[in-house]
């Protein structure tokens, strides 16, 4: 699923004079989709910004403009901690999905010459996505628990004597779970970019005596960067908006901005939830813009 291969620029735009109705028809065809997205996506997001400036009383909100909810956010340790937790978990998961995913992408995209095998491996990576997201999260509980599979295996192999309790209901379990759930979004785009590297370039470098490490550093890694960026954007957007994994695998101890929104909505603090929502949106916008600055995707893909 690469966005760039389907951008409007690359579509066949030749207007056909045999279909006189088509250019006018375009607007009629696109109108329902645009209206739907405006009403149910743009308006709600705008509403969120607007409501973040409303007055919050105990159980309801009133459209009297104030910055009080914003002041509460920036003066509360709990909320600033949640912001910091979100950023920390995002960076750690981004790093771990990259480190865990890159070698696999390297193998599938560059080393497997057989197209069928490469496709099979990628399909194997995608199959877990055919099960429910919540079941994928839950599946980590019996893995990581005190009497979980990992502890049993570690003890059976005499690597550890006592079960490691820090595996479940900690920040570590959240990061392990998110890495497994999201690393495929890293593997896919990177493998795609690696697959497009001309083997002759690597062959030429090797003939000139370059070591594998040097080839990797100067050819493979730079050419795979657009894939890393696309993967990074996917992972970032999904991790920043997370709350379910954090809640289910940390025993509600790790609170990300998403978790704060859920709790605030639960206690009808709508204006406050809106403030957190706007902060999350800004954070995401900055992250995505930052990624897009590193690599000009439109040119590279």
């Amino acid at each position: 699923m690469t966005i760039a291969s389907t951008t409007p620029d690359t579509t066949d735009m030749t207007p056909s004079n045999l279909g006189p109705l088509r250019s006018k028809a375009s607007y009629w065809l696109i109108a329902p989709g645009v209206i739907w997205m405006t009403l149910f996506l743009v308006v709600p997001l705008g509403m969120m910004v607007y409501v973040s400036f409303w007055s919050q009383t105990t159980f309801k909100i009133e459209p009297i403009l104030t910055t009080k909810s914003w002041e509460t956010f920036f003066s509360s340790d709990t909320y600033l901690n949640a912001l910091w937790t979100t950023i920390r978990i995002w960076l750690l998961v981004l790093l771990s999905t990259f480190v865990v995913g890159y070698p696999t992408a390297l193998f599938v995209g560059l080393f497997v010459k057989n197209k069928t095998l490469a496709t099979t491996l990628l399909v194997l990576c995608v199959i877990p996505f055919w099960t429910s997201f919540l079941i994928r999260v839950l599946a980590w509980r019996p893995m990581l628990g005190k009497e979980g599979a990992i502890n049993i295996i570690l003890q059976a192999l005499h690597i550890t004597r006592e079960p490691i309790e820090a595996l479940l209901f900690t920040e570590l379990s959240v990061i392990i779970g998110m890495t497994q759930i999201y690393c495929v979004f890293m593997v896919g785009p990177i493998a795609f970019m690696l697959g497009r590297i001309d083997p002759n370039v690597i062959e030429a470098a090797r003939d000139l005596g370059a070591s594998f490490w040097r080839i990797f550093r100067t050819i493979i890694l730079p050419l795979s960067m657009p894939g890393v960026i696309v993967g990074g954007i996917f992972v970032s957007v999904m991790v920043l908006g997370e709350f379910a994994t954090a809640a289910a695998l940390s025993g509600r101890k790790v609170n990300m901005l998403g978790n704060i929104i859920v709790t605030q909505v639960g206690s009808l603090k709508w204006a406050f939830a809106a403030v957190v929502g706007v902060i999350l949106t800004i954070l995401m916008g900055v992250v995505v813009a930052g990624f897009l600055r590193i690599v000009d995707l439109k040119r590279e893909l």
Binding site: I30, W36, L41, F107, W130, L134, A139, E242, V265
Partner: protein, 281 residues
């Protein structure tokens, strides 16, 4: 050559990576066969049994463990996924068809649509809940949650259809027009059969994404829970192997769906090929 040992190392790594991806499911699958009702959701397996599968279907005698509250949720989720699938696919085909001719503002529209799949569920969910509150509409799974499901799945359907139209040969349509066939009839008789494999993929995407959708639904649906919400509700209390058994069953259901898709796909591709051969002849 150094690469001779790098390749097997990466191969072994990839195998371990797949183990990492699949490990939790295997463990979940094994534990779903724990004895009940006293066996817990952990090792060791005291005795192998299908107790928890019977428990999911309500075939066991009543015990201290309450049955999973999934049946109403399942019916709602299937209905919702079906509604979402129809609307998303129709919108996706229409929008992608519109993109075949250049129109003013197409860039903006493209990003507007793609935004729907990128914006996290918490944000749109919260936003729509705020809109519904201030307009005074009740939030239900078939109204507010439904429109958000379409916001989420329509971009997928759109991108799939865009990719299909990219590889589409417009000369067959032009032939139909030059013979005086109306554009609508041309679409029905010529274009649609040719893009049908893409439509199937768009439908599959929309259905499964909606069926499994959780974060948008959490905020946008009211008191009546969909299946993922019902499952999420069980997380906060003590978990039992019945939820593992349910996980295995729902995974099997997804694979069944995939199999139906594969069969329909093969049939429609075969038909498209036969049509192409007739044209050549």
């Amino acid at each position: 050559m150094q690469t001779t040992f790098i390749k097997p190392v990466l191969g072994v790594y990839t195998a371990l990576f797949l183990l990492f991806l699949y490990g939790p499911f295997v463990v979940l699958g094994i534990l779903s066969f724990q004895i009940g009702p006293n066996g817990g959701p952990q090792f060791p397996i005291i005795e192998w049994s299908t107790y928890w599968y019977q428990h999911v279907f309500g075939l066991t005698p009543p015990s201290r463990i309450a049955p999973l509250p999934i049946y109403e949720g399942l019916a709602r989720s299937l209905t919702l996924a079906f509604m979402t699938m129809i609307v998303s696919t129709v919108l996706g085909v229409m929008s992608a068809q519109a993109f075949r001719t250049k129109f003013k503002g197409s860039d903006v529209v493209f990003y507007l649509i793609v935004l729907g799949m990128m914006v996290p569920g918490v944000l749109v969910g919260l936003g729509l809940a705020l809109v519904a509150n201030s307009v005074g509409i009740d939030r239900t799974w078939w109204s507010t949650a439904f429109v958000l499901h379409v916001v989420y799945t329509f971009p997928f359907a759109f991108l799939v259809m865009l990719a299909i139209f990219n590889r589409f040969d417009p000369s067959v349509e032009e032939a139909a027009w030059s013979l005086g066939v109306s554009p609508i009839k041309t679409f029905r008789k010529v274009t649609f059969p040719l893009i049908f494999p893409g439509v199937l993929s768009a439908m599959l995407f929309a259905f499964t994404l909606s069926y499994d959708e959780f974060s948008r639904t959490l905020f946008a649906s009211g008191r009546d829970l969909t299946l993922p919400l019902a499952i999420y509700g069980t997380f906060s209390i003590e978990i039992h192997p019945n939820i593992f058994a349910f996980g295995v069953l729902t995974t099997l259901f997804s694979f069944a769906l995939l199999a139906v898709y594969a069969i329909l796909m093969t049939v429609s591709l075969r038909r498209a090929k036969r049509l192409a051969i007739q044209e050549d002849a």
